[in-house]
Subunit: 365 residues, 2 copies
């Protein structure tokens, strides 16, 4: 276990504002992916906060979500103080979220180092993950870089973003730290295969570390409109209190990702290279690729009876799921809807969601 | 429409005592196949009684079932007087059922002609079906034969029983009537293909016609133990009333099918050859082979959203069933259980039922 010295307290910001339909029928408007019991033993969000606990004190762990699901998030994280769950009135993508937290921390702990991480990923090796986060925080603290974590690609995945690595800058706590030359958004499968052959590309894990001053400076340089909005909002916090100031200012902050708005434009970006097994769990089929999946049998959650069924993802949150003789299918049952789709076509769930919307079945969305 | 002359009233006995698990999770202990909404617009039982109505007066239509489901059967058939639903205390196969009705009718209408038919089949062409039944009743009435209805085989089905036809005896109401040379239980697929090539084999529809005196005589000859039991039971009916007499005698009647116990042994068996499209709906997959099934899309019942799904049987009695990109699957959803099985393996539902029994999940059976 690594902890940072008292003079540079280590904060963690877990971004839990996402929504989406890729996990329908489990995911609904008021129940986004990070709240679903997709991790073994609970939600991805709870698993993320638990995984983080040995590295960052719970008092310094903040979770940012939207007001629509903030109460559900607080219930999901009884180990956190309710005020550590920050609620955006509306989601404005990750740059606004990261900026808000930085501006807020600048007043409380201007010398802080911050880890920023997604709430809806699965990690196979928690100690290796924490070591990488600790090395990223140490790099951010020592060098003032904007630090990302790059994960070794184990397959030519076209659904992820990639980091192109440049020179090695240092070796921190046994992990190699490189300059980041460029960010590549979801490449073609051919290009992803090239990246693997070239060797200097890593999956962009979406995990960052920086000092409050470094990210503030970068936002002022690369997203001046966001910086101005945040300045105005923080000034208003003093006058009206935080909830009202957020209501007035947050919705008009520019909506852009921190990757696109800051990281791709900044020159002081570094990556810690790590090897933990990792998945962003992009669809139902991803569940069966997780390290915890039983080879052959596939993945089951909830009440399932599977006879001679292989390579499936079988999930019940209501009616018992009973299968016989099936291969490579996703079956998800809830009290009001049942999904059946071949694993290889799991992303087509969105077509069903569109069809339900056309039929005005918002009660199921 | 055909009706028989007043001096030989035509009765119909619909056998609705069956139970089974082939339509799990829709079929349960207290809800056998004939009560399931597998016909278009309602249960197979209600469809059978409606189909029969133009031929046989409802006052002369009797339905035989078991006490366990008698009330459900009466609710399903509001057009019948409740006392026309006869309840066996326990099922003792079809010979006992047929015998009980014959012994009962012998007292009320000794000259009656009786049609005996299953309650759980689907028929594509109701007028042709009624014509065949009328011809069978006329044959039974005119010649004193035990008459069956043989359906032209449209495929080498190994799941049905077959009738081997001998000489033509007559042409009644335009339909050919043949001596039946033998009964063949579920042949191999190769043998079934041979039968089709030979031309003198028909599917055994399980529909019979006979006079009360002919079936009584046949039971006394071929199932003397059953005849003795029925004699004792009917004598006791006078002393104790029917319910108590049934309770005392019915459970010890020999349990044998009328096909095996009587028809295969009798020499005066004839078959009316008919050509209506017919299915015994032996499993979920059979639903998609019915004449009413839409080619390509398959069969849906209840709330279903199917995107790019072909050749499936999709049934909901609870949660909405949503599918995308699937082929030739059976999906059946109820509030407490969901079944997914390839159509070609639909008969493997029994393996799931066994597994549930092993897990002591009688609540789902």
């Amino acid at each position: 276990m690594t902890s940072s010295p008292e003079q540079t307290p280590l904060f963690a910001v877990v971004m839990a504002g996402g929504s989406g339909t890729r996990f329908w029928p489990l995911s609904r408007c008021r129940r986004p992916k990070q709240l679903l019991p997709l991790a073994e033993g609970g939600s991805l969000l709870a698993a993320t906060v638990s995984r983080l606990a040995p590295l960052v004190a719970s008092a310094r762990t903040w979770v940012v979500t939207t007001t629509a699901v903030a109460d559900a998030v607080r219930r999901e994280l009884p180990q956190l103080s309710p005020e550590n769950v920050l609620a955006e009135p509306v989601g404005r993508d990750t740059a606004a979220c990261v900026g808000w937290v930085a501006w807020r921390l600048a007043r409380l702990h201007p010398g802080a180092v911050t880890l920023v991480l997604p709430s809806d990923h699965v990690v196979g090796d928690a100690p290796a993950w924490r070591s990488a986060l600790a090395a990223a925080a140490a790099t951010a603290s020592a060098r003032g870089e904007l630090v990302t974590i790059g994960v070794c690609a184990s397959r030519p995945e076209s659904g992820f973003g990639y980091l192109e690595l440049g020179d090695e800058l240092a070796v921190i706590q046994g992990l190699s730290v490189h300059r980041v030359r460029s960010f590549v958004e979801k490449p073609s499968r051919e290009r992803a295969a090239e990246f693997m052959a070239l060797g200097n590309f890593r999956w962009n894990s979406g995990i960052f570390a920086w000092t409050v001053s470094a990210i503030e400076r970068a936002i002022r340089t690369h997203l001046p409109e966001l910086a101005a909005g945040l300045d105005a909002m923080m000034a208003d916090v003093d006058k009206r209190g935080e909830p009202e100031a957020l209501q007035r200012h947050y919705p008009s902050l520019p909506s852009v990702s921190v990757d696109f708005g800051v990281m791709e434009k900044a020159s002081n970006v570094a990556a810690v290279c790590a090897g933990f097994s990792w998945s962003d769990v992009g669809s139902w089929s991803a569940l069966s690729e997780l390290p915890a999946a039983v080879p052959g049998a596939g993945v089951t959650r909830g009440e399932v009876v599977a006879v001679d069924s292989e390579g499936c993802v079988l999930v019940s949150e209501g009616p018992l799921v009973a299968t016989v003789g099936i291969r490579d299918l996703v079956v998800v049952a809830t009290p009001d809807a049942v999904l059946v789709v071949p694993k290889a076509q799991a992303q087509r769930v969105k077509e069903l969601v569109e069809e339900l919307r056309r039929r005005k079945r918002e009660d199921l969305l």
